[in-house]
Symmetry: C2
Subunit: 448 residues, 2 copies
């Protein structure tokens, strides 16, 4: 009988689990440096919480929990909703609910991070799972651009801690592109297809995007030409990664009416503040202004950003200001800035980079050389008292099998003997060299 985890879901073997836990701990420890604290919420929420406004497409992907007992029988008899709960599909809806549930207990400016699994009944495909981890940070109740600057600075420190050196952080504002398109006389009903086309830039070639723009603006040739030119220039700027806000403003000034430019200038002023602040605080920041950044989600209301890593087509994290989202269950709007790290994507990049280097949690193997189980365990205990993780070989196998087991498990150090005076005979498995040493010496070797 072969049996696996449910479709699109995964088991984690010890080495992968260790790797995932260490990644979570690295991310968490950096955010804690900025005063962001962990919270947790249940895997499921009331359906009414999950099905309100805010979930967008993800609501369709809900895993629903069947009602139980009498309630289920009643729902079936009445043709009513068969489910009462659903598994969370993101960490934003639970945050909005959490903020409403605990409002009296939270500080006015509430910084939290949340690293946890979410579930989506998506069609499983390569690299897309039905259970996956998200890693969100949000600051709720903070209204000024200083909060955006803090989130970006903190997140760049996470990327540095993960040794992702070839990333770029793209920044724009959700309001910017619609203003520019309006300035190009794109009709209101054409706005959405144009934005959807532009949003595909990381995934498809620019040729396809131009074709989609042409189709979207088929009866507006003039607007199409202006949008296409803007798009091509912005693509070049993205490639060169050197577009300054000043140059962009100057360039737009020559193309757009003064009325539209006045609005654009006010948006750019906010972005300028954020970017200057980030660069002042972190001179090695890779933050770039990118006017064709779309970030699909409807809920953004101001600055938006994402980070990309060279060689990977889609962004590894994204976020922005979403002032309408978190107040949903409070009945009053609350300013909020957030960032969601693509945990599984970063893990894939890390694993590719560290291929084979995933060592998991290291441990030594205490070999069964002679003596009984009890003596062997007492020896192991001495090593553990010194803080060394030790697996004891308890079955009566010959030395060859024991060493083979150690090598198969990626164990580097085998302990052949623990003498009464705490001196050890150690085998370094990769070189198969035996050495006598003191426990203190081995402690240093093992940890180094």
């Amino acid at each position: 009988m072969t049996v696996g985890p449910p479709t699109g879901m995964r088991d984690w073997l010890p080495r992968e689990t260790a790797y995932r836990q260490q990644l979570m701990e690295t991310i968490g420890s950096v955010y804690r440096l900025y005063g962001y604290l962990p919270i947790d919420t249940p895997a499921m929420e009331d359906l009414s919480v999950l099905q309100g406004k805010g979930g967008g497409e993800n609501e369709k992907l809900l895993f629903k929990i069947l009602k139980r007992g009498d309630k289920l029988a009643r729902a079936q008899a009445e043709g009513a909703e068969l489910a009462d709960y659903g598994l969370r599909f993101d960490l934003t809806v639970p945050l909005a609910r959490f903020v409403a549930s605990h409002q009296g207990k939270l500080p006015k400016v509430f910084r939290r991070y949340h690293i946890a699994p979410v579930w989506r009944a998506d069609r499983p495909q390569l690299g897309r799972y039905r259970e996956f981890y998200q890693c969100d940070i949000d600051v709720v109740g903070g209204a000024g651009p200083a909060y955006e600057a803090e989130v970006i600075t903190a997140t760049e420190r996470v990327l540095a801690a993960l040794k992702l050196e070839t990333y770029r952080f793209r920044v724009s504002d959700k309001r910017l592109l619609p203003l520019i398109l309006r300035g190009f006389d794109v009709a209101e009903d054409r706005m959405s297809p144009v934005l959807i086309a532009l949003d595909k830039l990381d995934k498809v070639g620019s040729g396809q995007i131009l074709a989609e723009l042409q189709e979207a603006l088929s009866s507006h040739q003039d607007a199409y030409k202006r949008v296409a030119r803007f798009f091509e220039e912005a693509c070049e700027a993205r490639l060169r990664a050197d577009l300054s806000l000043d140059r962009f403003e100057e360039h737009m000034d020559s193309a757009l009416s003064p009325a539209v430019m006045a609005e654009i200038r006010s948006v750019l002023l906010g972005l300028r503040g954020i970017m200057e602040s980030v660069r002042f605080v972190n001179p090695s920041s890779a933050v770039l202004f990118d006017p064709i950044l779309v970030r699909g989600m409807d809920y953004y209301t101001g600055p938006i950003y994402e980070a990309v890593v060279e060689g990977f087509s889609s962004s590894i994290l994204g976020g922005g200001r979403c002032d309408g989202l978190i107040g949903r269950f409070l009945g009053t709007p609350v300013p909020a800035v957030g960032c969601s790290i693509g945990f599984e994507r970063i893990l894939a990049i890390q694993q590719q980079r560290d291929a084979g280097g995933m060592t998991g949690y290291p441990r030594a193997l205490l070999l069964r050389t002679a003596g009984d189980d009890v003596g062997l365990q007492a020896q192991a205990e001495k090593l553990r008292n010194a803080g060394i993780p030790v697996e004891t070989y308890l079955d009566p196998e010959d030395m060859g099998k024991q060493l083979k087991h150690a090598e198969a498990q990626g164990i580097v150090w085998a302990i052949k003997e623990v003498k009464d005076d705490f001196s050890l005979i150690i085998r370094h498995l990769p070189t198969r060299q035996d050495r006598a040493m003191s426990l203190a010496e081995f402690q240093i070797l093992f940890k180094g």
Copy 2:
């Protein structure tokens, strides 16, 4: 609009989350000392996995996942099962499935721990939740009593690391009580009600248990008298916590037939090996033989154990040998020894002990004294570079409000100024004393 988590489920505020994470990390780090490694599995499993043999009562408490789309429509039309998956109700069934799914990749003796939430649609009541964490360790593929000794020794080290000093570790064997009852001529069909009555000893008074025994054995007065006497003696021994295997064997010898005693002796021999080994390896072990230990679960096949803490009626952990359980999906029996720690129960004990001492992750607050956001963030960054977690007060509030916020958040250190030469003006909030010091001095103070 007030809205909370689903019935019987909980949110975790930052301080509680930190406390829970630290508890998990303490438990995990001790088990890793013994070569146990973490794994993880999906929250849900195929219904067929969860509904087979082995779940017992817990199967009835399944949260089931509603089928989706066409599959749901078809199931409704045909009156078939509406669900395809279920949330795991323990970590043992997923382990059995995991071992079958990955058999080629696991070592012959596979030691793992798993700390994760499980879900049971139980009637919510005080201290019982519908989502709660379990913490299981198991060694799969190890057949001798050395494995029991290892699990007990490792688990006692966990209890020591958690500073639970008043615990006792009770050990017996699943086969022992039925043998004794048979020796007392308890009829086969009376075995189960007698064992169920004895299993309640931690929860109800001995008077009630005697009454239940009387009822169970109402037409077997002779057997009742012998069982009742045995029960009273065993209760006294449990209270005195001084029953040795030798004394027990001698005592039983006078009450039971030689044929029954031969079988009992073979069980006691195994227990003696385990207990002597544990005491040899850990001379301060609080391991005690306890012949009325029942451990309700059907799946135990040999030695069983549990730990109790003074002042708490139910056990904080329990486990034993369950050789039939893990091989379920392999189609071949596999020896296995496990232990499940009552994570939520230990947490409750710890919280009660540390009341108010739950500090969460400490952080300093950088006050907004003068200057702009950018300067403030640059100052904070210097502190973070030195490894000090710093929350920056970014809103323009007066000093009183800022200090009030810090105190409400349990923050101990406020930073009033970071000078260009990295010297600091620090306020110790509990005493409201200001002091000038170097960054290096503050690092030591903060971490101490």
